[in-house]
């Protein structure tokens, strides 16, 4: 599992001085030299109801901006390739993978991370359900699982079908979210500890209450 001190982070620590990023020979030294020419851009977004302003390199992902610029380390960096779901956050209420999008593309947007789910010190019902059903072991995928599940229920409420829906043309409701439906809709979140049965129980209970 990678962490944020590796790779991109080393390069982005260099302060940019502006100018045109012209092409040089494609080796690592040249890549480092070009880094110093990269233009940083001002970006502001509302994160967990707070307006946050940053100055970022275009190549900073939303994930790295949340973790490294804003210190919101609840969102996890695991595969960094859109394969595991650990970095799931909400943009304008929709679940997305923060590792596969650039922070500069979210200027003016409303972002919610796991830190923004609780209200007045009370856990979100999905968080409470994960604790009640022991829906994790190591916990590294948990933020992503919970963020994904919260938005998944909203998708079902909006009548969105899934690949597990018996008939794609008929209406979908939260009430008819079968275990097969929940598994399919949550398939973008992997759990290396294989706590899937407990995650299923937690999501099903929270879906039933909503």
């Amino acid at each position: 599992m990678s962490n944020t001190t590796k790779g991109d982070r080393d390069n982005t620590a260099t302060v940019a001085v502006g100018g045109d990023a012209t092409r040089q020979s494609p080796d690592v030294d040249a890549e480092h030299a070009r880094t110093q020419e990269a233009v940083r851009l001002p970006v502001s977004m509302t994160v967990n109801d707070r307006l946050r302003a940053m100055t970022l390199e275009p190549r900073n992902t939303l994930l790295d901006a949340l973790r490294d610029e804003l210190g919101l380390t609840g969102t996890k960096k695991a595969c960094d390739r859109g394969e595991c779901g650990a970095c799931t956050v909400h943009v304008e209420g929709r679940r997305v993978l923060s590792c596969m999008t650039l922070a500069v593309m979210h200027n003016g947007k409303r972002i919610t991370t796991i830190e923004g789910l609780e209200r007045d010190g009370k856990l979100h019902p999905m968080q409470a359900a994960f604790i009640e059903h022991d829906g994790f072991q190591c916990g590294f995928c948990t933020s992503g699982q919970i963020m994904s599940a919260v938005a998944m229920i909203e998708e079902a409420k909006a009548g969105w079908p899934s690949a597990a829906s018996p008939d794609v043309a008929s209406q979908v409701t939260v009430a008819n979210l079968s275990p097969a439906e929940i598994r399919e809709r949550m398939s973008g979140n992997l759990c290396r500890c294989a706590c899937y049965p407990n995650i299923m129980d937690a999501v099903a209970e929270a879906a039933g209450r909503s």
Binding site: E31, M100, S148
Partner: protein, 331 residues
């Protein structure tokens, strides 16, 4: 990722001009394919142009004649949830829902979906194993390497990769059009001509040229639209590329096939239309399984499996049959 410049654009003409003028410009919409390729060092644009602000390109319209117009910036999840898409062309909604994950479908645009690079694991390899798609003339590691997931139709010595888009298979089956605006104005590219076979230029996946901007996809009204189905077979049940998939659609008189449409995914560099089969299927009853099987076999005479994927020849015929019969049950 390598460093790059970033800007946004509000007018299609500006986007087209910038893309035509500068070979280092890449459009970005959802970014889910491009950013992955950049992380894998399989794409290295110097400048990204964010086209999400272009007007009137994010809508899905149900046309009065029974067709659809899907904006290039519409997100996969929105299109799959659209009730008219689901009713008129279940094959399109299903192809979208069987692709990627909930999170990625919220991000990925329709234009970007059909622009996904035709690829294989060697193409994406960070350590730069030989790949003609990635570095022209370097060779194809898959041709005599691990090629279980690769093509059985239309491949060349230069490239044996398959196109990963599920949506493209459904759109090829329905004879959709890609509406493109470029330096010379607007044109419609028939979907079956949008993606290319590799030949000796495997680095080119599509018919697009510099300056081309995909505006929308039009799916014309089709007699076969409603009785349609997308079937995807893969190594795990969800969130995985197809080993083999099939888009099938039929119009019937009673149980007898009046016309059929069939395309396969996971078998070629582009969606693979079974035209010989479509002709042979006319007049056959959906209950005559042996006759259906023979008709499907007609399009497999020119199958050329590689060392590890001979199973796809049999699997693809079974997938085509099941997709056809499932579609037929909706007639």
């Amino acid at each position: 990722m390598h460093p790059f410049a970033f800007s946004t654009v509000d007018h299609p003409a500006e986007a087209i001009a910038a893309h035509a003028r500068d070979p280092e410009v890449a459009f970005i919409a959802g970014g889910t394919d491009l950013i992955g390729l950049m992380k894998d060092r399989a794409a290295h644009p110097e400048r990204l142009l964010d086209i999400n602000g272009l007007p009137d390109m994010a809508r899905t319209e149900a046309l009065p004649d029974g067709g659809l117009r899907i904006g290039a910036l519409a997100r996969m999840s929105e299109v799959a949830a659209n009730i008219e898409v689901r009713r008129r062309f279940p094959v399109v909604a299903e192809a979208l829902l069987f692709a990627a994950s909930g999170q990625l479908r919220n991000m990925a645009s329709i234009g970007g979906n059909i622009m996904q690079r035709t690829r294989c694991a060697y193409f994406r390899d960070e350590d730069g194993l030989p790949c003609n798609k990635r570095s022209r003339g370097s060779g194809c590691s898959a041709l005599h390497g691990l090629n279980r997931n690769h093509a059985i139709f239309g491949w060349s010595e230069a490239c044996v990769a398959t196109n990963p888009s599920d949506l493209a298979v459904a759109l090829a089956a329905m004879d959709a059009s890609v509406i493109v605006r470029g330096l010379t104005g607007e044109r419609a590219i028939p979907f079956t001509e949008f993606h290319r076979l590799p030949g000796d230029t495997p680095e080119r996946d599509t018919a697009l040229v510099r300056g081309d901007l995909i505006v929308s996809i039009e799916v014309p009204a089709r007699a076969e639209g409603r009785a349609s189905h997308y079937l995807k077979i893969r190594d795990r049940q969800s969130y995985e590329f197809a080993l083999v998939s099939a888009a099938a659609a039929v119009a019937t008189d009673g149980r007898r096939i009046r016309s059929a449409r069939l395309a396969l995914g996971g078998v070629a560099h582009k969606p693979w239309r079974l035209t010989a089969t479509e002709v042979a299927l006319r007049g056959i009853s959906l209950d005559e399984t042996d006759a259906l099987r023979s008709a499907i076999a007609r399009s497999f005479a020119d199958a050329r499996p590689l060392a590890h994927n001979a199973f796809k020849v049999e699997l693809a015929q079974r997938v085509a049959l099941r997709a056809l019969q499932t579609a037929g049950a909706r007639a």
